[in-house]
C-alpha cells in the first residue's frame, strides 16, 4: 500500500511516501505565502521521484500548522499523533519524543503501546524554536546546515543572558560588534536552544528513552548539548528528523487503510 504524509509547517513543508513500512521518497521545501497553490507541483514532483502514479497513492494525510492548505488531503491529523506514531514505529522503546519545529517545541509522552499519554507544547514564545535559530544564524551569516562545522571551531562558547528571541538578537549583534568570534557566539546560541528543549523535556523526567525530531534536530551541536543535560537514553531518529511528522502522517494513513476507513472507493 502506498501512502503519503505531508507536513506543512510554519517554515518548511515536508512530504514522505511510504510503501508499507518502507520510505520510498521524501521532499522538503520552504513554506511560502502561496504554498496552497504550490502544493500540487510539490506533491507531483515527489510522486515522480518515487516512480508512482497518482492512482497508486491510496491515501494522503496532512499535518502541521498549515495542514488546512492541503486541499487534497484525505484526512488531517494533529502533529502530536504524527510525531508519536513516527517515533514509536521507528524506535519501539521510545517513551518521550521531543519535536523542535519552526514555531514550537512539543514533548510527547508515550506508553508501551506507543500511545500518547501526555504532551506539552510551547508555541507562544520563539525561544528555542527553529525560527529562533534561523534569526540568530541569519544575524551571524551562518547557514543552518553549516552550524555544526562552525561550532566545531568554537574555543570559548559564549553564554547568552537573554532568553527572548528579540533580546537575544540584540545580544548577538552586540557580541558581533565587540569582535567576538562567530563560532563562539553560535555555540552560545546552540546552548540557548538546547536549554529550552531540556527545560521542557525535564517535565517528563520519568521517561528514560527519548528521541528528538523536527528540523532543529538536524543540528548535531544542539543534540549533543541536550544529551549532556537531559537524563535518559537518547535514540537518534533513523531518518531525517525533519521528516518525522510527515512520516508519522503517512504511517497513520497506512493504519487507516488497514482499518478500511479510506481508499476503498478509490481506484
Amino acid at each position: 500500500m502506498i501512502t503519503m504524509g505531508c507536513d506543512i509547517g510554519s517554515l518548511f513543508t515536508k512530504a514522505v511516501i511510504l510503501n508499507g513500512d518502507d520510505l520510498i521518497a521524501s521532499r522538503i521545501r520552504k513554506t511560502t505565502g502561496n504554498i496552497a497553490d504550490e502544493m500540487d507541483g510539490f506533491l507531483k514532483a515527489l510522486m515522480l521521484e518515487a516512480g508512482i502514479e497518482r492512482s497508486e497513492l491510496r491515501c494522503l494525510a496532512g499535518t502541521g500548522s498549515g495542514a488546512s492548505l492541503l486541499k487534497r488531503a484525505d484526512f488531517i491529523e494533529d502533529t502530536i499523533n504524527c510525531i508519536s506514531a513516527a517515533s514509536a514505529f521507528n524506535i519501539p522503546e521510545v517513551q518521550l519524543a521531543i519535536d523542535i519545529g519552526g514555531q514550537s517545541i512539543t514533548s510527547v509522552l508515550l506508553n508501551e503501546e506507543g500511545e500518547v499519554v501526555n504532551f506539552m507544547r510551547n508555541d507562544k514564545c520563539a525561544a528555542g524554536s527553529g525560527r529562533f535559530l534561523e534569526v540568530m544564524s541569519d544575524k551571524l551569516n551562518v547557514k543552518i546546515e553549516d552550524i555544526d562545522k562552525v561550532v566545531s571551531r568554537a574555543a570559548r562558547p559564549m553564554e547568552m543572558s537573554a532568553q527572548c528571541g528579540v533580546f537575544a538578537e540584540s545580544e548577538v549583534i552586540t557580541h558581533v560588534n565587540e569582535g567576538e568570534d562567530t563560532a563562539d557566539i553560535i555555540a552560545g546560541v546552540c546552548t540557548s536552544v538546547a536549554n529550552m528543549v531540556v527545560a521542557q523535556g525535564r517535565r517528563f523526567a520519568a521517561a528514560d528513552h527519548y528521541t528528538i525530531t523536527g528540523g532543529v534536530a538536524r543540528v548535531n551541536s544542539i543534540i549533543k548539548i541536550i544529551r549532556e543535560k537531559l537524563n535518559g537514553t537518547y535514540h537518534g531518529f533513523p531518518h531525517d528528523p525533519q521528516l518525522a511528522a510527515a512520516f508519522g502522517a503517512a504511517l497513520l494513513a497506512q493504519s487507516e487503510l488497514v482499518r478500511g476507513w479510506y481508499g476503498a472507493e478509490r481506484k
Binding site: 507562544k124 514564545c125 520563539a126 525560527r131 532568553q163 527572548c164 528571541g165 528579540v166
Partner: protein, 263 residues
C-alpha cells in the same frame, strides 16, 4: 534650599534640582560607560545650565544603575531604588496616582502605591520583548513606518487585524504575511498597537491597577496604545506634567528634600 536627584538608566542619565518642591534645573544625557562618570557629568551639566553651585545643594539622592557606588563616591548622601523614586516622583506630581505603568525601551514595570505615596507592590517584565518599546520598534521596521507614524496611522483604522501570536518574533512574521496579502498598513498598525496593549494589560493585571493610573515611558507617546489600554483597563490614563524621563530623578530629589529636613 536646594535638593537634587540623580537617576542613571540603561540608556540615559538624568539629574533634577528642586527648591520647595519645584524643579529649578534638570538635564538628560546619554550615559557614559561608567555610572559614576555619568552621574558626575549630568550633575555638572545641570549646574552649569542653571548657574547653581554644588555647595548650594543640601542633600542628594542617587537612583538607578550604580546608585550605591555614586553614593560611596560622595556624589550623593543616600541611594534609593528606582522603583521607589519613580513612584514618589509620579505621586508628587499627582497625589491621586496609585498605579504607574512605565513602558521603557527594553522593559515594562507596573508600580502600585498607597495613599501616602509609599510603594505597595510592583511587577516587571524584562524577560520578554512583547509589551516593551522594543516590540514597537521591531514592528515599525517590519511595516516600514516611523514609530510616530505607527501610533498615528492606526487611529484611522476601522478594521484592526487580529494577531494570533504573542511573541514579537512570531508577530513580525504575521505582519509580513498581512503585507503580502495586501492588507492595509493602517489596519496592520492598529493590530500591532492592540497586541502591544494586550501584553501591557497582562502585566498590569497582576497588581490590580487602581485609579489614578499614570502612563509613563516612551510608549506613552503612542496614542493608539494608550487608548487601547484605556479601553481594556476601563480606566482613564493620566499623563505626567513633566518630561516622563525625569520622573525618577525628580522622585529622588523629593526624597532628598524629605531627608534634608523639609517635606
Amino acid at each position: 534650599m536646594l535638593f537634587a536627584g540623580i537617576d542613571i538608566g540603561s540608556l540615559t542619565a538624568e539629574a533634577v534640582v528642586i527648591e520647595d518642591g519645584n524643579i529649578v534645573a534638570s538635564e538628560i544625557m546619554s550615559v557614559l560607560p561608567n555610572p559614576v562618570d555619568s552621574a558626575k557629568e549630568v550633575m555638572k551639566r545641570t549646574l552649569e545650565k542653571s548657574g547653581i553651585r554644588l555647595e548650594q545643594i543640601k542633600y542628594t539622592v542617587s537612583t538607578g544603575y550604580g546608585r550605591e557606588k555614586i553614593q560611596s563616591q560622595g556624589m550623593a548622601q543616600e541611594n534609593i531604588s528606582e522603583i521607589s523614586c519613580h513612584g514618589l516622583g509620579a505621586y508628587t506630581l499627582n497625589p491621586e496616582v496609585r498605579t504607574i505603568i512605565d513602558i521603557g525601551g527594553q522593559d515594562a514595570k507596573v508600580i502600585k502605591m498607597d495613599s501616602s505615596g509609599k510603594l505597595e507592590n510592583f511587577v516587571m517584565n524584562d524577560k520578554c520583548a512583547a509589551g516593551t518599546g522594543h516590540f514597537l520598534e521591531v514592528m515599525s521596521r517590519a511595516l516600514e513606518v516611523s514609530l510616530d507614524q505607527l501610533g498615528l496611522m492606526s487611529l484611522g483604522s476601522k478594521k484592526p487585524v487580529e494577531m494570533s501570536n504573542r511573541c514579537t518574533i512570531y508577530i513580525e512574521t504575521e505582519v509580513i504575511h498581512f503585507l503580502q496579502r495586501g492588507v492595509s498598513k493602517v489596519d496592520i498598525a492598529a493590530g500591532i498597537n492592540k497586541a502591544m496593549a494586550e501584553r501591557v494589560l497582562a502585566l498590569a493585571r497582576r497588581v490590580n491597577p487602581e485609579k489614578e493610573v499614570m502612563l509613563t515611558g516612551g510608549v506613552a507617546k503612542n496614542a493608539a496604545v494608550k487608548s487601547e489600554l484605556q479601553k481594556m483597563l476601563n480606566i482613564r490614563l493620566v499623563s505626567p506634567k513633566i518630561d516622563p524621563q525625569i520622573i525618577g530623578a525628580f522622585g529622588a530629589a523629593v526624597l532628598a528634600q524629605g531627608k534634608g529636613g523639609i517635606r
